[in-house]
Amino acid sequence: MSSYISFNIVVEFIALVFAFIFLRKDKSFWKIMITYLGLVVLTEITGKHLRYLHYPNQWVYNIFLLIEAGFVGSVFYFLLKKNKAWIFSGLLLFLLSYGIELCTNGFMRFLSYTNIVSSTIFIFYCLYYYYLLINEEDHHDLKKHAAFWWVTGAVFYYFGGTVCNIMFDYLSSISSETLGYPVRYIVFCVLNFILYSCWSYSFLCRYRQKT
C-alpha cells in the first residue's frame, strides 16, 4: 500500500480535501475543481498501480491530457470571459496536435509534444489573464483574489515544467541510476507543491469571498 503513496499523490490529495471543504457549496465553475482533482488523484493512483504491476501506464496520462486540457480550458473560459476566441483556438490547436501525435506515435506512448503544446497554450492563457488584470481599471486585493492565485499556481507549474517537458524523451531514455537522482521527478515534485499550494489557497480565497 505504501508504494502507492508518493509526495505528489499526498499533495494532490490535500488539494482535493481543500477543494471539497471550501468549494462543495460553491455554485459557480469553481466547483469543477473537486471533480478535476479527484480525477488527478485517480490518474496518479492508476498510473502507480500499473507501474507496480509492470504494465505500461503512459496511455493513462494520455487520457489525462484530454481531461487536463478540457479542465484548464474551461476555467480560463470563465476567467477570460471576453476573449472566448482565444480559448477555442487554443483547444483546437491542442486537439490537432493530439490527433497528429496519436496517429504518429500510437496511444501507448506518452504524447510529449502535445504536452509541450498544451503547456505553451496554458502559459499564454495565464499571461493573457495577467495582461487583462493589469489593464483593468479597478484594482484587486491580490492577497485574497482567488482567480489570481489559481492562475499563479498554473503559470509556475506550466512555465517551470517547460524544460523538463521539452527534454522528456531524453530524460525517459536515461535511468535515474545513471544520474544519481531522478531530476524530472524532483522538478515535478517542486512544481506540484507550488501548483497545489496556490490552488488550495485560491479555494480558501474563493470560500472567504463567498462568505
Partner: protein, 265 residues
C-alpha cells in the same frame, strides 16, 4: 564536444530554476502594478472627496452671501422704506384734510418702491439658483445689484458663443470665484469702476475682472487674511484652470481666470 549526461541534467535543473524565477518576477510585477493602481484609485477618491467638500463649502458660501445680502437689503433698504411709510401714515391727522391726501400718496409711493425692491430681492434669491441654467445670467444679476448701489460704474461684456454648461457643480464654483473677486473689490479696492469680461473660446472660457481701485502687491496679498487669493487659486486649480493677478499699488487690479468648460451642445 560531448556533454555528459550529468552536465546536461545540471543544465536542465538550472534551466528549470530559471523558468521558475521568471514567473516569480512576472507575478511581482503584476503585484506592484496592482499596488500602484490601488494608490491611484485611493488618490482619485481622496481628490473626489476634497472636490465634494469644496463644492459643499462653495454652496454654503454662496447661500451665506445671498442671505447676507438679503438681510442687509431688508434692513437698510426695504426696512427703511417701510419705516418711513409707517411714520408718514402715523403722522396722518384727519383734522388737517388738505395734508392727508399728500401723505397717503407719499406712503403709497414708498410702498410701491418697497414692493419693487422686494421683487429685486426675490430675483437675487432666484439668481443664486439660476447658476445651473446660466452662469452669465447669474453673474449679470450679481452685477445689477452692485450697480444699484450707485457706487460703481459697471461694464459687463460677453464675447464668443455663450454655451450652456453640463456641469452645474463647476458653475457654482466659478460663480463663487466671481463673488469672491467682487467681494475683494468691495472690501479692499476702493474702486469706482468695475469691468467684467466673459469670453468663450471653444472648450475654455476666460473671465476677466478689473477695477480702478488701489491695487495691491500680489506677494503680500497672497498671505493676507480676508482677501482669499489662495482660496481662489486653489479652486481654480481644482477645476483644472489657471488664474493670474495683475496689480500694483494705486493702479487697480486685473484678475484673469481660464477655466476648461464642459458644454452641452
Amino acid at each position: 564536444m560531448q556533454i555528459s549526461a550529468k552536465d546536461l541534467i545540471l543544465l536542465i535543473s538550472l534551466a528549470s530554476l530559471v523558468f521558475l524565477i521568471a514567473p516569480l518576477f512576472l507575478i511581482l510585477y503584476v503585484r506592484s502594478y496592482n499596488i500602484k493602481k490601488k494608490k491611484y484609485t485611493e488618490e482619485k477618491e481622496h481628490m473626489q472627496r476634497i472636490y465634494e467638500q469644496e463644492l459643499l463649502n462653495t454652496r454654503i458660501e454662496v447661500q451665506e452671501q445671498t442671505m447676507q445680502t438679503i438681510a442687509s437689503d431688508l434692513h437698510d433698504n426695504i426696512g427703511q422704506l417701510l419705516s418711513l411709510s409707517s411714520l408718514i401714515l402715523g403722522s396722518v391727522n384727519t383734522e388737517q384734510p388738505e395734508k392727508v391726501k399728500e401723505k397717503i400718496t407719499a406712503a403709497h409711493d414708498l410702498t410701491i418702491l418697497s414692493i419693487k425692491e422686494l421683487r429685486e430681492l426675490a430675483k437675487r434669491i432666484q439668481g443664486s439658483q439660476l447658476i445651473s441654467s446660466g452662469l452669465h445670467e447669474a453673474m449679470a444679476l450679481e452685477l445689477d445689484y452692485l450697480k444699484k448701489s450707485l457706487v460703481y460704474a459697471i461694464d459687463f461684456k460677453i464675447s464668443g458663443e455663450v454655451k450652456q454648461s453640463n456641469d452645474p457643480d463647476r458653475d457654482i464654483i466659478v460663480f463663487r470665484l466671481f463673488q469672491e473677486l467682487l467681494n475683494n473689490i468691495i472690501k479692499h479696492a476702493h474702486a469706482t469702476e468695475i469691468g467684467v469680461i466673459l469670453e468663450y473660446y471653444g472648450s475654455v472660457f476666460k473671465l476677466k475682472v478689473n477695477d480702478n481701485g488701489s491695487g495691491f502687491n500680489f506677494s503680500e496679498g497672497i498671505g493676507k487674511r480676508g482677501m482669499g487669493l489662495d482660496n481662489i487659486q486653489r479652486r481654480v486649480s481644482m477645476l483644472g484652470g489657471e488664474v493670474s493677478f495683475n496689480s500694483s499699488s494705486g493702479e487697480g487690479t486685473q484678475v484673469t481666470v481660464f477655466i476648461p468648460y464642459s458644454s452641452s451642445v
